[in-house]
């Protein structure tokens, strides 16, 4: 059972809390609050605090926690499922900034260096040899050759059939012309 004194203390405490919250709301709603926050953020103290936080163990701990609690997976899974990530990726790829970045990458000596190293590597040529010897490639080349031979043969066939008609027409025309030639009587 609470005594009358306890009841009074409890009521006073609740009242003080309400008054405190009301005072906080009033402070946040006031035009000075925004200005105060801006000043704090612009202050050297804020910069120093941020620098200290970044230099300290906070970031490492945060990184470990993010990895341990699979935060990135938990964020990305619904994004992937909803297709939102695809939309974002499309938007990023379609942006002029992405084009500029790709163009800069192509122009940069980094790509030339990468290609040069790739060409120098033994593994690449082993891979090329392996691919060139693969049944799929040899079959494709064979098909291509057969297709080309078929194409040539088809063209020869069509032209030879035309040539049959033309030769026949020419020879028959020659013979008919000679027959029709009027005889010149002296």
């Amino acid at each position: 059972m609470l005594g009358p004194l306890d009841a009074v203390v409890s009521r006073a405490s609740r009242l003080a809390s309400r008054v405190g919250l009301a005072a906080l709301d009033a402070t946040l709603a006031s035009r000075f609050a925004e200005e105060a926050v801006d000043r704090v953020l612009r202050s050297e103290l804020a910069e120093r605090a941020l620098r200290q936080a970044l230099a300290g163990a906070l970031i490492d701990t945060a990184g470990q926690d993010i990895a341990q609690r699979a935060v990135i997976e938990r964020i990305s899974e619904p994004l992937v499922a909803s297709g939102e990530l695809d939309r974002i990726a499309d938007a990023v790829l379609a942006s002029p900034a992405a084009e500029r970045m790709v163009a800069r990458l192509i122009d940069s000596p980094l790509l030339d260096e990468a290609v040069a190293r790739l060409l120098e590597s033994e593994e690449l040529w082993l891979l090329v040899d392996e691919i060139a010897r693969s049944p799929a490639v040899t079959e494709a080349i064979g098909q291509q050759s057969i297709g080309f031979a078929d194409q040539v043969a088809g063209a020869v066939r069509a032209r030879s059939l035309n040539a049959d008609d033309r030769l026949e027409l020419a020879v028959r025309g020659l013979v008919t012309r000679r027959r029709r030639k009027p005889r010149v009587t002296p």
Binding site: V156, S160, L161, D164, E168
Partner: protein
């Protein structure tokens, strides 16, 4: 203006009704020559490779002059048999030599049937006889309605286009 049929147009252009106006397409001299060139290349290619192999093997053995003459005669006979067998076999079986197949033409009876072996042999003889007088036996192909040469007349065959 009176409408004239395809037959009449063909008659005016060709002098006689061409093959396509009457149904099957008879094949002319140019196509047949190309097919024959392909066949000649195959026949001679195979013969040359075989001859080279035989000569290479025989070069390991001492062969007298008389024996060499006999071997040459055997080789000539073998070549003759090979040429006759090549054409006769293909004409009697599929109606198409490999050269004919490349050009999509076929040797058949006028009614469309396949040639019997004897008739195929007769056609080979006809081709040889047609070639002897400076290939004069092939000239009728240019003038006859069904584009038949001496060999076709002798064996009673026609050469049709196999294209659809």
């Amino acid at each position: 203006m009176t409408a004239i049929g395809a037959q009449e147009v063909a008659r005016r252009v060709h002098g006689t009704a061409p093959a396509e106006a009457t149904g099957p397409r008879y094949v002319g001299l140019v196509t047949r020559t190309i097919a024959f060139v392909v066949d000649a290349a195959i026949v001679n290619g195979v013969a040359a490779v075989t001859a080279a192999a035989v000569v290479l093997v025989l070069s390991l053995f001492p062969i007298s002059h008389n024996l060499r003459t006999v071997l040459v005669a055997i080789g000539g006979a073998a070549f003759f048999v090979w040429v006759v067998a090549y054409f006769a076999t293909f004409w009697a079986t599929t109606g198409q030599t490999p050269g004919n197949r490349v050009m999509r033409i076929r040797v058949t009876r006028p009614a469309g049937g396949r040639l019997r072996p004897r008739r195929a042999m007769l056609r080979v003889v006809g081709v040889v006889l047609a070639a002897l007088p400076l290939f004069a036996g092939f000239v009728p192909i240019l003038f006859t309605d069904r584009r038949r040469g001496f060999a076709d007349w002798l064996a009673d065959t026609v050469v049709l286009s196999d294209q659809e």
